[in-house]
């Protein structure tokens, strides 16, 4: 069979795939794609379960934001500023507009109307203080690469070409993009973690002291999928926006604010997201530009950023961390001082908790924390996997290793001697903390007892071998969320919430929880997410989605069960005459007496008796007040490096990550999250660094070849252990999230292993071979 697909005619597109219907269908991933054995008892929670969206992903059917080929689609291409600070003097788009196929060039001078107040641009993940950046708003340039024009054309190639023809004149102003140059003018931001005792005095008096400065450069998330938005404009002015985002409702509210639209006029969809790591928490500029294009042309518009433009959005802030640790001769800490100086933009104050983590981990009567921000002419920094902890705990755990060396103590033993059973910042007990078990099981799996503590003492042929370890810690948060369950008489269950699945496995855990609570095989569950019209759900970040959404699903399922019970009580010969809500369960497609499941009625019979086709319930999650407890996940990471001393090449040959994160909903996807985090941590330690040419205030390696990330050849054995951590306090399922804990501490463990291998301490990340060679 032969098909002719001619150069796109906007009015007569004949593309076979990617209709909006297809995309909507993709949002409802059929759990029936599963290969796993059908189970009907309450057994999915805690069982390794293959992804319910797996088939869609391995067959290429999963549709991402930039993949909807709708009729009449217009292609955008953004033009970026070439100065770091200043004003636009003139934009000449004449040549671009002359190219056949170019429809328009939008700039701050001719764009549709946008809001003129900061509040309209504030999104759920925006820093509390500052004035959010307004894309294509006015002539001010706040960072190099900032979009200054949007070329709109009938096809992508023409748009890309014409974008090169847009000429922009600037009046440049002096800029600063170097944290080291700006550290002197950094200002203090208030943090909730309060000081204890007198750290300076205790440090001065301590028997053993370690004091040093550590550095983490700017890192970019670089998700594999480019930021993309496809905006479908309909004649009544309503917009359907397919966006790469970690929060469809956040983008929906943002667009309503920026464009003064009614809530009903904007729907945001993101059924699949090709990686986020925090970069998609805030709405990115491509969505604003694409909406501007669609409004101005009254046609559907797609804008996909190129890889270089991916460096014009948020990033992990470069951070200088200073640690001062004072200890008794036996290793018990007397004083901790942790200071951080991190990057933010000129227009917003972004910061996270870098400095307070020692208060969760280690006993010390005296502690002082300071967090400072330096303003640079860059976009606002942002959340990247375990923001604050990935950087702050790197410094803390490298410093603890240096203290262990000074004390001549085993690094694990030092941590056990300092182990804190309370959160000292808040003076609260933990809902659970099985970190001791992480140390024990991690050390055992790694073979830590065979470590010779002497640096440079272990070899494998020509290579030096180093073993290092570190502790990880993160928060176990849960947020308000709502879920809907629709039960059909044939037992089919649809579960829905406006979450995103950024690769974390949200589709799958939602199916697991719903299947268990509704007593149906997972194959009978359909999951819907990534649609702003679904029940409310927060942005997918902070490792809070699994716990938040699961408990909303449980609530909705319990309401559906309650309705079934109400109907069943009216059936002749009902076994539930005296039953209360808690006396019944759903199992095997039946409503049954808990503890006596033989006394049951098929769900189908109940619904037939009640003459209902389906039962639908929406429920908000609710949690007991646990404000009198600290809520954290913990880990212990053990790493082996091998280093060729002649050329300085460093390989991480083994890693063991032992994680305590409560009950694990799906060990298969959760294990993958931790493995991926360890890979990210290895990238932090050895590869990742955004390099700026400070003369121009421009990123020099804004691509994925010169910004190094781990590739297959860099990654060897990674073992993940989930230690048993019963937690009856945190929430009914006793679960905590695992999206971020896996990266925390990894960079320190690698750095510590490198020290053990070589006797050289490199404190500036990434630890590249040139830095090591300088010391070797």
């Amino acid at each position: 069979m032969s098909t002719d697909v001619n150069r796109r005619d906007p009015l007569a597109t004949t593309v076979a795939f990617g209709s909006i219907e297809t995309a909507n269908a993709q949002a409802a991933v059929q759990a029936t794609a599963q290969q796993q054995a059908s189970k009907s008892m309450s057994s999915y929670i805690g069982t390794p379960t293959s992804r319910v969206d797996g088939r869609a992903k391995v067959t290429g059917q999963a549709k991402y934001a930039g993949e909807l080929n709708v009729a009449g689609l217009v292609y955008g291409s953004a033009v970026g500023a070439t100065v770091a600070k200043g004003r636009i003097v003139r934009i000449n788009a004449d040549d671009a507009l002359k190219v056949p196929g170019v429809l328009d060039v939008l700039t701050h001078q001719n764009r549709p109307r946008m809001a003129d107040n900061d509040q309209a641009y504030r999104d759920d993940a925006a820093p509390e203080s500052g004035a959010p950046y307004r894309p294509l708003y006015d002539d001010r340039i706040l960072f190099n690469g900032q979009p200054v024009a949007l070329v709109l054309a009938e096809d992508w190639e023409t748009a890309r070409y014409a974008a090169m023809l847009v000429r922009v004149e600037y009046k440049a102003e002096d800029h600063v993009t170097d944290l080291h140059a700006a550290r002197g003018s950094a200002f203090v931001v208030e943090k909730p973690e309060k000081p204890r005792g007198d750290a300076a005095k205790a440090f001065a008096a301590a028997a053993v002291r370690h004091e040093a400065e550590y550095f983490i450069p700017i890192e970019h998330h670089n998700p594999m999928e480019l930021f993309a938005s496809t905006v479908v404009w309909s004649d009544d002015g309503k917009l359907t926006v397919y966006d790469k985002t970690q929060g469809v409702q956040n983008v929906q509210r943002y667009l309503c604010g920026v464009f003064g639209l009614k809530s009903d006029d904007v729907t945001v969809m993101s059924p699949f997201m090709g990686g986020g790591f925090g970069s998609g928490l805030r709405p990115q500029y491509q969505v604003v530009l694409a909406v501007l294009g669609a409004m101005s042309l009254k046609r559907p518009v797609r804008l996909v950023l190129n890889r270089a433009q991916m460096y014009g959005v948020g990033y992990r802030p470069a951070t200088i961390e200073r640690l001062a640790l004072g200890a008794r001769a036996n290793g018990e800490l007397e004083a901790i001082t942790h200071e951080a100086i991190a990057v933010t933009s000129q227009y917003e104050d972004f910061s996270r908790n870098d400095t307070g983590w020692s208060g969760i981990l280690y006993k010390s009567p005296n502690a002082r924390y300071t967090h400072k921000l330096a303003r640079l002419d860059l976009p606002t920094s942002g959340d990247m996997r375990a923001p604050g902890a990935a950087t702050g705990v790197y410094a803390l755990e490298a410093a603890m290793d240096e203290l262990a060396v000074a004390l001549k103590l085993d690094p694990v033993e030092l941590r056990l001697r300092c182990y804190s059973d309370r959160d000292q910042n808040e003076d609260l007990p933990f809902t659970s903390k099985s970190l001791r078990e992480c140390y024990r099981q991690g050390a055992e799996a790694f073979g830590w007892s065979k470590r010779n503590p002497e640096p440079r003492s272990m070899r494998d042929g020509k290579e030096l071998v180093g073993w290092g370890m570190a502790t990880g810690v993160w928060e176990a948060l849960q947020m308000p969320a709502s879920a809907r369950i629709v039960l059909t008489a044939n037992g089919h269950t649809e579960v829905a919430t406006a979450a995103s699945d950024i690769g974390t496995g949200t589709y799958t855990i939602m199916a697991q929880v719903a299947a268990d609570r509704m007593g149906v095989p997972i194959d009978n569950v359909t999951v819907r997410l990534g649609d702003s019209t679904l029940p409310a759900c927060p942005i997918e970040g902070g490792s809070w989605i699994a716990a938040s959404v699961s408990h909303a699903i449980i609530g909705a399922a319990d309401e559906v069960r309650g309705e079934l019970l109400r109907i069943a009580k009216t059936m002749p010969d009902t076994p539930f005459a005296d039953a209360l809500a808690g006396d019944v369960v759903l199992t095997n497609g039946k409503l049954a007496r808990a503890g006596d499941v033989a006394r049951s009625v098929p769900i189908a019979d109940v619904m037939r008796h009640g003459k209902v086709e389906h039962i639908e319930r929406i429920k908000d999650n609710t949690f007991a007040d646990i404000s009198k407890y600290a809520r954290n996940t913990h880990s212990a990471v053990f790493v082996e490096v091998k280093i060729d001393e002649e050329i300085g090449i460093i390989r991480v040959t083994r890693a063991v990550s032992a994680v305590a994160a409560g009950r694990i909903l799906n060990p298969k996807t959760a294990g993958n999250q931790v493995v991926g985090s360890v890979v990210g941590g290895i990238g932090m330690a050895l590869h990742e660094e955004t390099l700026i040419d400070h003369a121009f205030g421009r990123i020099m390696n804004a691509n994925i070849a010169e910004y190094h990330v781990p590739v297959h050849a860099d990654i060897h054995d990674i073992k993940v252990i989930f230690v048993d951590e019963p937690d009856s306090i945190i929430n009914p399922l006793g679960m905590k999230g695992v999206g971020e804990i896996g990266i925390v501490g990894v960079a320190a463990a690698v750095a510590n292993a490198i020290y053990h291998a070589t006797g050289k301490r490199v404190r500036d990340l990434p630890i590249t071979l040139d830095k090591l060679q300088r010391q070797l």
């Binding site: 990617g18 992508w156 297959h712 050849a713």
Partner: protein, 171 residues
């Protein structure tokens, strides 16, 4: 960029016909020669299973098989492949049965976000056909053009090993 911007605007180059056999189906496209094979697949043929992660040969997300060999389709103009047989991720299933690599990727949870996955799978199919990778380290080395930012590498390796065994070393 400045050289281009100083030259007078020019029209898109004239279109030409290109015939490709994509997943067993012959397709004739009338396209401008500056169209990459990747964009031809995604935008003209609607085969969006092949992903764009960088558009400059650095990530491997766009990997497809052309006459049985794996290539980066973003670095290939469609006109260069006139008459060639192209296999994309959409063409690996047979009669609703997943390719052993596709099944192995699900079994081993060899992805998270799934965006690198079509490229990893096509690349692995090419790798197995090349027959050069025998050991885990050889597989790692020869798969290193396919970046997985989610970091699912150990699972991808396990999946490739399972598929290699299932396929008896043949593609």
């Amino acid at each position: 960029m400045s050289d281009v911007s100083r030259s007078a605007a020019m029209a898109a180059p004239a279109t030409i016909n290109v015939t490709l056999e994509v997943n067993g189906r012959s397709c004739t496209l009338t396209i401008a020669p500056w169209t990459t094979l990747l964009d031809a697949l995604r935008d003209r043929l609607g085969l969006t299973g092949t992903k764009k992660g960088c558009d400059q040969g650095q990530c491997g997300a766009c990997t497809v098989l052309v006459d049985g060999r794996r290539i980066n389709s973003c670095l290939t103009l469609a006109v260069m492949k006139d008459g060639a047989k192209v296999t994309t991720i959409e063409g690996l299933e047979t009669d609703g049965t997943l390719h052993p690599l596709q099944q192995a990727f699900i079994d081993h949870d060899a992805f998270q976000c799934g965006y690198c996955t079509p490229g990893q799978i096509c690349s692995a199919a090419g790798l197995i056909a090349e027959g050069k990778a025998k050991t885990p380290d050889q597989i790692r080395e020869l798969m290193s053009g396919n970046i997985c930012r989610c970091g699912a590498y150990p699972n991808i390796l396990a999946a490739i090993q399972q598929a290699m065994t299932a396929m008896g070393g043949k593609s």
